[in-house]
Amino acid sequence: MELERRRFPRFSTSIPVGIRFPKGPFLEGWGRTVDVSAEGLLLESRFPLKVADVIYVTFTLYDGACFENLRARVVRISYQEGYHLAGIAFDDVVDKQTMRDVIAALAVEGHVPLS
């Protein structure tokens, strides 16, 4: 049996995400979440992402809880037929406690399916 080593649980959900790039060929882009946790999210996007890139993500959960321009860093990347799958971690400036509470509440209410 595989042990779950993450500090925060992940929830599978496909939410549109807006991405802002501080540098690079694009200023902004978009994608979708594959899963979300209080620490970060797995994002799929056609816009190029590289490990260690700093990006700002904006997304709104189903209950209307909106997170705008969260500073995050790309920690891993994979590629599937035109889409970059990027594991991104929120920076410390993000209020993780609030996010954890929101995501946990949504999970309990069934808005966000558990992975």
Binding site: G18, W30, R46, G82
Partner: protein
Amino acid sequence: MSRVLLAGLTGKDNDRLQKIYEAVGTPCEVVPTVDGAMERIPANPPALVVVKYDGHLEPIHGVAEVLRTSAPVTAMIAILPDPKLEVAVRVMRAGAYDCLAPTLKPFDVLAASKRAASQKGRALFVAKVERPKKRWVPVTGILISLIVAGNLFLRVFYGPPLDQISLASAHLTGLQWEDRLLWVGDWFESNILCYRVKPGVLKRFRELEATALYKMADGQPMLLCNTPSALVTIGTDLKMRSHQRMVGLPTVQTSSIPGTRPTGLVWDGKNVWTSDGDENSIYRYGEDFKVIETVKSIIPNPMGLAYDKNALWVLGGTPLRLAKLEKMAYGFVWRGPYDVKNLLIEGVTPSGMAIGFNRLWLISGGYPIMASSSLAELTRKASGWFQKESSKRAG
């Protein structure tokens, strides 16, 4: 068979998308309006709906609702007028899986379509979506070829003139090439002429055209050289003068020269040099036209002097020979001599010498033709000695 429904798109976008999908063997159905698409979808659900976003979310919501109720395994992607983040997120929240923006690149269209369909469990096409490889090699190759071809063309276009040129005067003395300019003195007319080599693809088009003519008021030029600050001449009165380059060639400075038969006058970038046919010597002058260095010529009776590529070239002797004088840290080194054949008519003495376009140019008194020969060919084989010669400094 999986098909794509194109709804509410312009004719241009329809054509473009149809081409892209047909390239992977996926048929398209075009419905001019979104309302038409909403009627068509329940009747025959496609694998993917591509909808144009025209600034209103209602049609997107409408299609999403139809898909949810009548075609739950059909995905939707939207075409945006501009790639704006806020718009894209709004449209995706309304039900589109992804948004595309102009220009609709085949790679992006196919990647988004395949992924959107596969998220609903549909296989739109099997071909793997791969980013088109960047054609660096051909592009770089073409660029390099263009640069090389351009360079070659410019080298030809700005190449040397004909090997033999008629200067239409039999009283010419003193020659100096200065890039594409040729300075010539006419002792009889007391003129100094400046010619320019016309650019041209063929040698015969690269003629000399006169660009300036200066009449000397106080002398007849035997020899001349152009320096950045003044035009320097040696006249038939054996005086060296520096002139302002203006009408009448006003004399700025006059000085006597050593020897009685001056045969060459050049500027090496720092100093003026002269040669004397009787003294067998070459002289270097300071700014005040005082001799600061004397070098014995290894060629007897020097008849001409030229400067090219950090070396002085001396012409003289019988038969005519050429030698090169290079300045080293420890003194001067002579290289050569090299035979100079068939450049002038037998028995005619050169009255002017210059080096330009990697060629040796000679002109003779009483003969209006300036003839040239490749310096590389002339200096291929030395015909005798190789000797170091120390100089004698004045003072």
